[in-house]
Amino acid sequence: MPTKIEKDAVTGKMTTGHEWDGIKELNTPLPKWWLYILYGTIAWSVLWAILYPSFPGLSGHFRGILGWSMRSEITEQMAAARAEQAPFLDRIRAASLEQVRNDPELLAYAMAGGRVAFADNCAGCHGAGGQGARGGFPALVDDDWIWGGSLEAIQQTIVHGIRNTQDADARLSQMPAYAGVLTRPQINDVAEHVLSLSGRSTDAAAAGRGAAVYAENCVACHGERGEGVRDVGGPALADAIWLYGGTKAEVVAQITNPRMGVMPAWGGRLDEATIRMLTVYVHTLGGGE
């Protein structure tokens, strides 16, 4: 119920003219500075909406007269980062792998860049630190190489992969399944022989019988004393490292019905500099030859 605006006797302030049951409202306006800040923020928001992307439209949105966007900013930042990397990457492309490996500056750069590329592309199978995984994913930190651990051999493996169908030059080796070729006792004997190569056999007689079977079937790929043949990708059998496990049951299983892993070819997926950095990184993990 509006009443007349009057001066309040107690406080000396004016009333607003609003009255409820005899209670009158004092006119206590917002402080000026507060209002000016409010107006200022409103003006600011209008300016902001004009300068920067703001209102949605039927097709897309208003992009602001400055043309700024988060996406273009990150694109610029990425381009700047790439420009900074470029001289190093050019040097890595131009140098031989051996030169990269021996130049402290390039080595440090390749190790850092290789670590990132490794985590992105390789860690899924070979483990975050190159430790490999059970069931046929080779460790890259040790000194046992199926296809060779020199810089060139590692690069070859990365570029073309192993047993894949995309790359005609992929490394290829095929171990036959001996389930139908050898009898069960023969498989048992040759498994004992293989274990004896690294001093693990528990049955000397069987190992002795297995030597003949080994000489007949296995020597071509795994070598006379189980040292492995890298040219054909035949893994060493006389060392302490077992791709598919070193217990007798696992060895028997591998002879009977072998498993063989596949590695994709990275030549078409990664650029040359990345592959070279990866090569050097893998080489420095511990087993480089």
Binding site: R101, N102, P104, L107, A108, M111, G127, A128, G129, G130, Q131, A139, V141, D142, D143, D144, A236, D239, A240, I241, T284, L285, G286, G287
Partner: protein, 498 residues
């Protein structure tokens, strides 16, 4: 207009509910001359000289860092003080300096009262400088008061604009000098002037320009009275033996006008000239006793001494004195009537000024202890440090011949400007082979980076057939070419469960 003192509530106001808001009364400090004023000028020139000049002091420094004596290199994470370079991991030296400064402030306050507030505080120094500018442009106290109350004519605006312009120039120079501590001063100044400095530089320059202008130009004594926490808790450092600015009541009261040639019998020395109030930068009346607002600058002493010389009374009606002495004098002259006899009794009542007392001893002891600890830590600081991080994936590597290898990341901090090569060895694992990636296999040497951190991959291989426990304690040792141990770091060697 009456002299602007802080409003005391009148009896009529006291019956009303007390308002918590005190309207600001502008203070117009008058010009004064004397010993304390002179000391303040000297301190002002020295302090501002150091502040504005220090970034320009050069120091020939190897490496890429600018040749600046005092430099806070935020990008490089270094603090340079002449030949000393403090790295970010040694920030405790800077913390130590701050602790030393704080305890020294406690000690000085308990001995001499609020000398920090009155002489050394940046708020005081810049306010003094701003007041000096104000006085040069607008005149002394009375002229300034007239100007503010008079017409807003051309002369008024000319002076005001000139004053604020001068203030803003000083403020900008203050902000500008601050940012110069963070980079090469000549380069930065050129960049700032030509508009090529970074946004951070301009932001801080702007912020400090604004705070200097606002605090020294406008806020002034309100900073000390309302904003600053230090006056609130420094009461804990003061006691009855600390020097404070005091009005000697027994000598001054009863105050009143005095005609030249008349006897002083029955009258105190205070002629109620209000000079002590007029010169006060915080606008208080020291004759009301100890007050929170008093910053202990002693300008009222200078003002009063000049008046005492004029009226032919001894100096020291307002003086630096202790509460203990005030108490003694008060008691000694209580029975005597006002006049010279009473003043003599008060003057001769002395209280031994106890400089050595538990409070000062404790502050001095703490100060000495912190100084010694920081000095010892500084003298024993190593310029080479070693950190060893062992690989977690994989925790160990099994090699073809059955031996076990662990891989580590070894970082060498080199705080010097030489680049020595060190031999890296391990202790605790007999027969272990150490190989640094990128270094010749047989040597296991680690190259360092001058004024930087060198990161190396290191492989430690236990000999084949060594029957190792799951975990072996290992110590990495760097040795120089003479075989002397430089620095070491502990780690462990992990092997598979047997």
């Amino acid at each position: 207009m009456d002299a602007p003192t802080k409003a005391k509530p009148t009896p009529a106001q006291a019956s009303q509910p007390a308002s918590l808001y005190a309207a600001h009364v502008k203070v117009y400090p008058a010009r004064v001359q004397g010993r304390f004023r002179y000391a303040k000028w000297v301190f002002l020139v020295v302090a501002l000289g150091i502040y504005y000049g220090l970034p320009w002091l050069r120091w020939d420094r190897p490496g890429d860092a600018p040749d600046q004596f005092v430099l806070i290199d935020l990008a490089g994470r270094r603090f340079y003080l002449g030949p000393i370079a403090i790295w970010q991991d040694e920030l405790y030296f800077v913390t130590g300096l701050l602790i030393i400064a704080a305890v020294a402030l406690f000690l000085v306050t308990s001995l001499f009262g609020r000398v920090w507030c009155g002489y050394a505080c940046p708020q005081t120094v810049w306010t003094d400088l701003y007041l000096w500018v104000e006085r040069r442009i607008e005149g002394d106290r009375n002229a300034r008061m007239r100007l503010d109350q008079g017409h807003r004519n051309g002369a008024y605006w000319r002076r005001k604009v000139l004053k604020h312009a001068a203030w803003i120039v000083i403020a900008a120079a203050t902000g500008g000098a601050f940012v110069l501590y963070f980079g090469d001063a000549p380069t930065m100044l050129a960049d700032i002037v030509t508009g090529q400095a970074g946004s951070w530089t301009y932001s801080f320059l702007g912020i400090l320009t604004f705070t200097t202008y606002a605090l020294a130009g406008w806020a002034r004594e309100q900073v000390c009275t309302y904003m600053c926490p230090w006056p609130r808790f420094q009461g804990a450092m003061l006691d009855e033996n600390s020097l404070i600015v005091t009005y000697r009541t027994w000598r001054g009261e009863p105050r009143g006008k005095h005609k030249q040639g008349e006897s002083w019998e029955g009258q105190g020395d205070c002629v109620d000239c209000r000079q002590c109030v007029n010169v006060c930068p915080t606008g208080i009346d020291i004759r009301d006793g100890q007050q929170l607002e008093c910053i202990g600058c002693g300008l009222c002493i200078d003002a009063c001494d000049a008046i005492m010389d004029k009226v032919g009374r001894p100096r020291g009606l307002i003086a630096l004195d202790t509460l203990a002495h005030m108490q003694k004098a008060e008691t000694a002259c209580a029975a005597l009537p006002p006049g010279p006899a009473r003043q003599l009794a008060g003057d001769t009542a002395t209280a031994d000024r106890r400089i050595i007392r538990p409070r000062t001893l404790i502050y001095a002891g703490v100060l000495a202890a912190v100084c010694l600890v920081m000095l010892a830590a500084f003298l024993m600081r190593s310029t080479t440090e070693l950190a060893v991080l062992r690989d977690r994936a994989p925790v160990y590597i099994l090699l073809a011949d059955g031996s076990v290898r662990n891989a580590f990341t070894v970082k060498v901090w080199n705080k010097g400007y030489e680049e020595p090569h060190y031999a890296l060895g391990v202790e605790g694992l007999p027969g272990a082979a150490v190989a640094v990636v990128g270094a010749p296999q047989e040597a296991a040497t680690i190259a360092t980076r001058a004024d930087g951190v060198a990161t190396n991959r290191v492989h430690v291989t236990a000999p084949a057939g060594a029957r190792l426990p799951e975990s072996t304690r290992l110590r990495f040792v760097l040795t120089d070419e003479n075989g002397q141990e430089v620095v070491s770091h502990d780690s462990v060697f992990l092997a598979p469960k047997r």
